[in-house]
Symmetry: C2
Subunit: 414 residues, 2 copies
Amino acid sequence: MKTLTELGCNAARAKYEIQGLRTEEKNAALEAVAAALRAGADEILAANESDLKRGEQKGMNSGLLDRLRLTRSRIEAMSEGLLQIRQLPDPVGKVLETISRPNGLVIEKKTVPLGVIGIIYESRPNVTADAFGLCFKSGNAVILKGGSDAIASNAVITNVIRRALGASGITEDAISLIEDTDRSVTREFMRMKQYVDVLIPRGGAGLIRSVVENSTIPVIETGTGNCHIYVDEYADLDKAISIILNAKTQRIGVCNACESLVVHEAVRERLLPELAKALREKNVEIRGDEQTTGIIDCIPATQEDYGTEYLDYIISVRTVSSLEEAVAHINRYNTRHSEAIITENEENAGRFLDQVDAACVYVNASTRFTDGFEFGFGAEIGISTQKLHARGPMGLRELTSYKYVIRGNGQVRE
Amino acid sequence: MKTLTELGCNAARAKYEIQGLRTEEKNAALEAVAAALRAGADEILAANESDLKRGEQKGMNSGLLDRLRLTRSRIEAMSEGLLQIRQLPDPVGKVLETISRPNGLVIEKKTVPLGVIGIIYESRPNVTADAFGLCFKSGNAVILKGGSDAIASNAVITNVIRRALGASGITEDAISLIEDTDRSVTREFMRMKQYVDVLIPRGGAGLIRSVVENSTIPVIETGTGNCHIYVDEYADLDKAISIILNAKTQRIGVCNACESLVVHEAVRERLLPELAKALREKNVEIRGDEQTTGIIDCIPATQEDYGTEYLDYIISVRTVSSLEEAVAHINRYNTRHSEAIITENEENAGRFLDQVDAACVYVNASTRFTDGFEFGFGAEIGISTQKLHARGPMGLRELTSYKYVIRGNGQVRE
């Protein structure tokens, strides 16, 4: 097992090789890796089986076991994901701007890879291949720290990828996995600033918080979503109900699911009974404020409810008497992810879109659209909830930085 | 004196007001603030006098006292700086991209302010006005933590700005200053993630390191520059000497000054004697490797020299036998700021520009051009040496983020 420092050094060396690869070389390697994953399915499934056994012995619940489980079709999907990334445009080497200065200097602003990207993630082993594909196509080396539950699966997937890279004549250190599952190693990893340019945590709120608290490497926060839908006094209530149902129940465990409703008092009497009926049919528990419990039969909401990302069949409801109050409530409790207003009033829509602080703000659509594929960007490494560097769906383009290239013929500064 | 939490709350409230200001309102306020600084010169100079007295009593050296000193013409320059910022285009509300999806959703990617920007800086009090101007024009509230040496000057400048804002009908909390000079307060400030969106340290390497180590707020590192000039085997040596002299001596205390030379062995015998003569005329001390001390009379360089940003009349020299060796040396020791190659060979220039990892890479020009004004961008808040968010000169545009604004008519996800 390599030490953390060895992994860091190797990745930092590999980044210089990878950043110089031509698009065709990267695409050919992605194709080779995709084929290797398909060919290595038996090996991967065997390793996954041992992870699953350990998980069962530990008493993991069925939801977690399902996240951990690989099948032939899931491996096929990982492979297919790499082929899709191959098709996406290469984000490296794009000239964003050219400036000619009066003194004759010509300045080009040009996209470059970030360098070495660290990714800390939880138990889904398919992230191993996805993260590699996105980092590699954008010219970066990646160091992965997966969850200990998936360690055997991740190790085999990483090895399959490394072998395929080696066979393609590309440095295997384009991807490496930290196999030591000790927590102290993760903390040390977060401070390897001399080797790692950016750290992206993918997982629950606890993981993200721990990385933000402990990392000295610049972090991109992803994926916590306490998303609201505000039903304005000028809402079309049929649209409201269909959008709320979709945003809450189409998939409950995802960061862009709706967790909380804000309802204008002018429509609450008409909206809530019908909405409650529809939500109950989908087994959604409602936790409402005093006004809500006065209209429908539901559990009283606490302050804590408004700050909770349930990721479950639960939704909180808060009533307000103005758009301002709705915006203030949302800006207080949201996680800057995805927020929606349902209204037929253009002015109110505009104020909501301007004033709510979030990566994605919607009018009359489900928050579930916050997704790289739904936006037409292709695969994503995560949804950024911070304002620095990238916001919202992060794809290949967001895995690059830029440099200024300046050409002169002897210019000096006066 | 307000508590840190009060300052944070006020700024977090103010950001929503400032982000909605029209360009004309912001420009009028900048003009009013510029006039107020000029009108308040006596008050500012009196406060500065007390800072200077305290500094003298503490035995501050003349360089530091000069950084701390304000004069009528320096206040005039602060005022003029704000008027220049007023002229720059408003970076907020620009639509960077519009995407129409097959399902009818229209997605706009639109620039927005970062929110609340924290700036921690050392003893130059003019930063107070400059930082306010840039943050305000880009729609952000700013919380400043200046050096304790300049506390009286900073407090008066901040008050003058706040009064002028108030008189313009704009929230005074667009700018606030942390007046408590206790170090524990600075540490607490760096963890005020709930109020501050981005932290920008401006100052020496020690300050930057401390902020990176302790902050839980996303940080943009600025301003440490261990910048190299590589004299290639195909260099025009006259150009080389004139560029090196400029980059080393035109202004020694700045982050884009040259601190280290890398010289190809094919030109060292011809270059070094003449260069040494020219540098000595400017009182520059040379610290060279074994090959260098074999050619010219100079102090032997240690490993530590190669990693040192002198900010002084000292330069280190390392000889290499290839471009690869030069690139490897630079990538090992540089701070990702500004790096130059002197060569008449296009291919070598291209390899250097591609392979050296820095915000700004030059061919045949002085590193001293890394500057917002020299690039034609206008005033800057600093030179970023990290890859996340912004790299190189950071002006108004780099003080914004973006949001996705999505308009639908009832779309739900399948």
